[in-house]
C-alpha cells in the first residue's frame, strides 16, 4: 500500500485560550494536488505551520513522508518545498545569493541549474537585490525557493498572489508538473478558480474546523444548483409557492426569464415549471466560489452533511 506523503491526524492548536485549529485530519497522496480553503483566520496558516514544524501542536499528529514531524527539528525539510503566505526575504542581497544560501542549508547541492531554469521560465532576474524587485517579482522568488530543490512535498500558501495572469498560469503549470512527477501538493489559496482547475480534492476550513473534504466535483454538486428558465413570449412570470418547494428560491427575475436556485433533486422544480409555457431551460455550472460561499452562509453547528461525515469518520 502506498504511504501518504502528508498525514494529519486530529491536529489541534490553541494559542492560549484562542482557538487556532481543532481536530483537523486529512492526508495527501503522492502526485495529488490538495486544495485547502477557508477565509482569513480560519486556520489554514496554522495548519501549514504545524505541518512545517514551525508551531507546536496542542494535540494530534503530523506525518510527512512517513516521519512524524517534531516541532523545530526540520523534519524532512530537505524534501519539502515551502512557500509562505506572506513571503518576506532579505532585501539587500541579490535574489540568487539568498536563494543559494537557503538551498545550501542542510547540505543541499545541485540546485543552481534548476534555479536558473525556473528564473528563465518565470522571467525573473536573479542578479538584482530582492529589495529592488516589484511585488510580483518577489513572489516569483518565492516560487523559485519552493521549487528549486525538486521537492517531494510542496506546501504552497497563496503561490500566485500578486502575479499577472500569464505568470499565474506558469506557476499552475509548475505545480501540475511537480504533481505529475510524484510530488504531493498542499495548495492553500483564495483563488477558487485555480483550486478547481488543478486540485483533485479540497478541504474547506471554517473557524478552525474542517467542514468539508471531498473531490472538487463533489463539492460543486453539494451546493445549490441553478436553473435558468426562459418562458415563451408574452407569458407572465409565475410566483413560486415557497411552502410547496422547500430549498428552492428565485435568485433573479429578468423579462421572460427566471433564475432559480435549488438544493437536492431537480424533480419538484421541473414539475412546477412544467405547468407553465416554458421555452427552454439551461443549467449554469456551479462554480467552486458559489459552493464555497454557501458553506460560509450557513450557521455554525448546522454546517452540512459532509461536515457531519467528517466528524463521524474521526470518531
Amino acid at each position: 500500500m502506498d504511504m501518504a506523503s502528508v498525514e494529519i491526524r486530529s491536529l489541534t492548536k490553541w494559542y492560549g485560550r484562542s482557538r487556532g485549529i481543532e481536530e483537523i485530519s486529512f492526508s495527501i497522496e503522492p502526485g495529488e494536488i490538495f486544495g485547502y480553503l477557508g477565509p482569513n483566520g480560519a486556520g489554514k496558516t496554522t495548519t501549514i505551520r504545524c505541518l512545517m514544524g514551525l508551531l507546536r501542536p496542542s494535540s494530534g499528529e503530523v506525518r510527512v513522508l512517513g516521519q512524524r514531524v517534531a516541532p523545530g527539528q526540520g523534519t524532512q525539510h530537505e524534501r519539502i518545498g515551502y512557500l509562505p503566505g506572506e513571503f518576506r526575504i532579505w532585501g539587500r542581497p541579490k535574489a540568487r545569493s539568498s536563494l543559494g544560501m537557503l538551498a545550501a542549508l542542510g547540505g543541499d547541492r545541485g540546485t543552481a541549474a534548476r534555479r536558473k531554469a525556473l528564473a528563465e521560465r518565470l522571467e525573473l532576474n536573479l542578479h538584482r537585490p530582492v529589495g529592488d524587485l516589484s511585488k510580483g517579482n518577489r513572489q516569483k522568488v518565492a516560487v523559485v525557493l519552493a521549487f528549486q530543490h525538486q521537492p517531494d512535498v510542496l506546501v504552497l500558501d497563496e503561490p500566485t498572489a500578486g502575479l499577472d495572469p500569464l505568470m499565474r498560469q506558469i506557476v499552475l503549470d509548475l505545480i501540475c508538473e511537480a504533481a505529475h512527477a510524484g510530488a504531493a501538493v498542499l495548495l492553500s489559496s483564495h483563488d477558487l478558480s485555480e483550486v478547481s482547475a488543478i486540485c483533485g480534492r479540497a478541504a474547506i476550513l471554517r473557524e478552525g474546523r474542517l467542514v468539508e473534504m471531498a473531490p472538487i466535483s463533489e463539492i460543486l454538486q453539494q451546493g445549490e444548483h441553478r436553473l435558468k428558465v426562459w418562458f415563451t413570449d408574452g407569458a407572465l412570470l409565475p410566483e413560486m409557492p415557497s411552502a410547496d418547494l422547500p430549498g428552492v428560491r428565485i435568485v433573479e427575475r429578468e423579462p421572460g426569464i427566471l433564475h432559480i436556485a435549488y438544493q437536492g433533486t431537480a424533480d419538484p422544480i421541473l414539475k412546477w415549471v412544467g405547468q407553465f409555457p416554458v421555452d427552454r431551460i439551461t443549467t449554469p455550472q456551479t462554480s467552486l466560489q458559489e459552493a464555497f460561499i454557501q458553506y460560509y452562509q450557513q450557521q455554525p453547528g448546522s454546517i452540512n452533511r459532509a461536515g457531519d461525515d467528517l466528524r463521524g469518520q474521526r470518531s
Binding site: R49, L55, G72, L102, L105, G107
Partner: protein
Amino acid sequence: MTGSSRPPFPLRLLWFWFLRLLPAWLGIAAVIFLMQIAIAAIVHDNANVRTFLGFLRLLPSIVRTALGGDMLESGSMTALLTVGYQHPFVMFLYMVFAVGTPTGLLAGEVQRGTMELILSRPITRVQVYVCAAILTLVGMFCLVMVMFLGTVSAVHIYTFSEPIDLNLFFRLAMNGGLLASTFGAFALLSAASLGRLYSAIGVAVGFLTLNYFIAIVAAWWPRLEFMRKATLFYLMYYSDLWQQWPLGNMAKLAAILIGTVIVGGIIWRRRDLPL
C-alpha cells in the same frame, strides 16, 4: 534523512550572518582599537598626563568614577591606560554589539519574517540559536581582544616613562571579554524569549544599563556600596585582577554565561515563534 538523523550544522547560515555582521563589527573594532591608541597618545607624555588629570578633576565625581575613580589619581600610566577599557563610549560600543547581534539575528529575523524561511529548510531551531550564540559570544570576545591589541600596539608606538605590564592588560582583556560575553548571553536570552525586536532590544539595553549605573553609583556613593554585589561588574572590578588571575570570579562569570545561554536555548526551542 532518516527518523533519528539530525541535519548537518548550518555553516552557510553562520557564514551568511557573519557577512551581515562583519561591517558593523569592523567599525566598532576599529573605533575601540583607535581609542586605545588615542588614550596612549595622551598618557605617554608627563605633561599630557598632568593636563589629562587636571581635566579629569574638572569632571563631576560620578563621571570620574565611571572612568576609573581614585585609581586614576595615582597618575600611574598603567592605570591611566585602563581609561580606554572603561570609557563610557567604549562601553556603549560594546553594548551596541552585545545587544544588536542576538536581537538582530533572532528577534529581528523573526520580525522580518525571514526566520520562517530559514526554519523551512533542513535545520533545527537549536542550530539557529547556536549560530546566533557563536556570533554573539565570539564576536564580543574578539572585540575585547582587539582592545587589548590596541594597547599592545600603543605600547610599541609610544615610549612610556614607566614599564607597562601587558600581562595585566591581558588579564583585564580576558576578564572583560568574559564579562562582555556574559552580557551578550543576557541579550541572547532576551532575543530568544521575546517576539518583537524592539522588546528584545529594550529588555537587553535595560539590563545592561541598569547593571552599569548600579555599578557606577555604588562605587561613587558609599551609602550604596552594598549594591555593588548586585551587578555583574562586581565579578570583574572587585576582584584581585590587578595582582593575579581571579579564577573564582572568572568561573562564576563563565557559569552565569553558560547557564544564561542554555536557558535561552531551551526557551527558543520550546516557544511558538510569532512568524
